[in-house]
């Protein structure tokens, strides 16, 4: 069943034996092309993870941010889906430069089987920013964000880095976290008017815990991110911060601070 999909993706004949042989040949070509594109891509790579529970609206959000359109037919994300956002760094100033930000939308739930978690960990390498997405109508999805952030940030270390984490949330870790975080609450329109202040207070506590800005929106309505709104400003600020940390912050004095604590692997600041 899965080999059929493989064959159709290469648009070849259906005989499995010849498919595999051809696939071998095609893949050696892919390897070489991939090696070259990898070098080229890594020169300008800015990688932002989009994490959150199943069904909160990550795919809709990524589609909205990258295509400036509402996603018509959301479906389950299997594995990881990537999209690219064109961001003008320092827009309107003479330093303006265009960057391509990769948004990696990792699917799945926090309670997945350990085999899924270990496979997912492959996507968490060399991350430059994390967007934590939660559903405003579902408190559990907000609570699970602590576990999501720990899963992603702990994996961000190489095996040689020393990670001090017993799996529990530790506010200090987030206060000096080198990876910028952004908190996004979805399905804002589904909250009745009288409950809004209560929900916003709760998310304010959440953003304090993560030491991150927060945005509350509805992924099916582009007006929440229209130019000039406070949401759009916070979003650009986040992306600018991510780009700055990626390219412009290589201050040695800052790095010694992290090595003293030995909390996070600052190798993420190096380029692969």
């Amino acid at each position: 069943m899965s080999t059929n999909g493989f064959a159709s993706s290469l648009s070849l004949c259906n005989q499995s034996a010849s498919t595999n042989r051809y696939a071998g040949g095609v893949f050696t070509i892919f390897f070489r092309v991939a090696a070259v594109t990898k070098k080229m891509a890594s020169l300008d790579r800015v990688k932002v993870l989009v994490l959150g529970d199943s069904g909160v609206g990550k795919s809709s959000l990524v589609h909205l941010l990258c295509q400036n359109q509402v996603l018509g037919n959301p479906s389950w994300t299997v594995g990881c889906s990537v999209d690219v956002r064109v961001q003008d760094y320092k827009e309107g100033t003479p330093d303006e430069k265009t960057y391509y930000i990769e948004l990696w939308d990792v699917g799945g739930s926090i309670g997945s089987a350990s085999s899924v978690k270990s496979t997912r960990a492959v996507f968490y390498n060399s991350v430059n920013g994390i967007m934590l997405v939660h559903d405003l109508t579902n408190k559990k999805s907000s609570q699970n964000l602590y576990r999501w952030s720990l899963e992603a940030l702990n994996k961000d270390s190489s095996p040689t880095g020393v990670i001090v984490s017993n799996g529990d949330y530790d506010r200090e870790q987030f206060a000096e976290n080198p990876v910028p975080l952004l908190l996004i609450g979805t399905k804002f329109d589904q909250i009745p008017e009288n409950k809004r202040s209560e929900v916003l207070t709760r998310t304010a506590f959440l953003s304090e815990d993560f030491n991150a800005e927060e945005i509350n929106l509805d992924c099916t309505n582009p007006r929440y991110l229209a130019a000039g709104t406070s949401n759009a400003v916070k979003l650009s600020r986040f992306f600018d911060k991510v780009i700055e940390k990626r390219y412009f912050t290589r201050d040695p004095s800052q790095m010694t601070g992290f090595t003293d604590r030995k909390r996070f692997n600052f190798k993420s600041l190096h380029y692969d």
Binding site: F30, G55, V82, V122
Partner: protein, 423 residues
């Protein structure tokens, strides 16, 4: 006097089962969701409690605990309650929650829910026609009518699940079938996955860049006038959009590939974990059990005659416990796979319905495994149903399900080694 004592015992055990169902709901099923409608949790726990009580009554029957008149009373009472819940309460609430999710029908929720319930009752009644489950002397509103139909649905479900379980259980746990997976296999797959993602990223960057250029050129184009300007604009946008659709097709193919690679990697990781687990003491114990139960399953498939009724009683006990546990685990996995915050209520109620019907028909079928002297109570309580029909129907569906599972697993197993051919 003894009746009061017995009733107190039964009531206490029912409260215990209710509490267990409540905890299971909160800790396992709904641990990622908010419980907003407590009625769902109550209905689920009630269904679970009364289903477990039925099994308890069978055990009491065999052990001879409690006086027989109070046992009979509690059987009848339990049966009426559970039929009431399975046929009236749960379907109505399923209809109600489905209707609540649909925005158009918000106004007249109750009315539409009643309509859904009547449709359900119609099909439920019609279910009895093709099956020879009743003798003509039963009236239209007798309890046998209801039980027989519930029995058909439940028995089909049980046979399907047992058939699949009988084949899948040995396949999963016996080390003979475990493919050999090394760390380097997994690393190689992960590397391929990441390379595919990199290719997708670079192609999407090209699409974004081309789109941006087209957009910017589009603005300039409005300024271009004259004959040559028009020709230039037509040709450049055409090649631009043709290129885009070509790259987009490549991206779609690569995304499909990345999904498959992801699933294969998960599969390999799961196999590796299973291999590691089989080396532990617990794993070895379950492996042995797996061999034991696969022999039992094979024996069931070939329908060898029972030679000792006491062994069958022990097996009845084991079957009850493992089938409850197995059902709860399967329901949980199913629930995680398909639910979302909108549909979670509906799915839990559907699961409660399945669970209730499954347990009622277990009682029906268990009659076959029980020693002769205990079958009378079941026959007395459930009325004169054509029990032989149910046994035969179970065997047929079990056979069909087991054979199709064997075929399915054989195909899946065949395909697996080809996937991991090294380049």
């Amino acid at each position: 006097m003894s009746f009061v004592v017995d009733s107190v015992i039964m009531f206490t055990s029912q409260v215990l089962f209710f509490g267990f169902g409540w905890l299971f709901f909160m800790r396992q099923l709904f641990k990622d969701y908010e419980v907003r409608q407590y009625i769902v949790q109550v209905v689920f726990s009630i269904t679970f409690a009364f289903s477990c009580t039925m099994f308890e009554l069978i055990i009491f029957e065999i052990l001879g605990a409690l006086s027989s008149s109070s046992r009979y009373f509690h059987w009848k009472f339990n049966l009426y309650v559970i039929l009431l819940v399975l046929i009236f309460v749960v379907p109505f609430y399923i209809g109600y929650f489905v209707v609540s999710n649909i925005r158009l029908l918000q106004r007249q929720k109750l009315l539409f829910a009643c309509m859904v319930w009547f449709t359900f009752m119609y099909f439920f009644w019609k279910l009895g026609d093709p099956f020879p489950i009743l003798s003509p002397k039963h009236g239209i509103l007798s309890i046998e009518q209801l039980i027989s139909r519930v029995g058909v649905i439940g028995v089909t479900l049980m046979a399907l699940l047992s058939g699949f379980g009988a084949v899948n259980c040995p396949y999963t746990y016996m080390s003979y079938f475990l493919r050999n997976v090394t760390d380097s296999d997994i690393l190689a797959l992960e590397r391929r996955l990441l390379q595919t993602m990199d290719m997708i990223v670079s192609k999407k960057k090209r699409i974004a860049m081309t789109r941006r250029q087209m957009y910017q050129r589009g603005e300039d184009q409005n300024k271009q006038t004259g004959f040559w300007g028009m020709i230039k604009s037509v040709t450049s946008t055409q090649t631009g959009s043709e290129n885009l659709s070509l790259i987009q097709q490549e991206v779609d193919a690569l995304e499909e590939l990345s999904r498959q690679l992801f699933l294969e990697t998960v599969d390999l990781q799961a196999t590796k974990e299973r291999i590691e687990y089989s080396k532990t003491f617990q794993g070895k114990y379950f492996n042995f059990l797996g061999y034991f139960f696969s022999i039992y399953c094979v024996w069931k498939i070939f329908m060898v005659k029972f030679w000792s009724q006491h062994i069958s009683f022990i097996l009845v006990g084991i079957i009850i416990v493992t089938s409850i546990r197995g059902l709860l685990i399967t329901l949980t996995k199913f629930f995680y796979a398909i639910s979302s915050s909108k549909s979670s209520n509906v799915i839990v109620l559907v699961l409660a319905q399945i669970m209730g019907m499954y347990f009622v028909s277990s009682v029906l079928l268990m009659r076959m495994s029980m020693p002769l002297e205990y079958r009378s109570i079941v026959t007395e309580v459930l009325g004169e149903l054509q029990f032989n029909f149910y046994h035969r129907w179970f065997d047929v569906i079990f056979l069909v399900s087991a054979l199709s599972s064997i075929l399915f697993l054989y195909l899946a197993h065949k395909q697996a080694p080809e996937k991991h051919m090294t380049l």
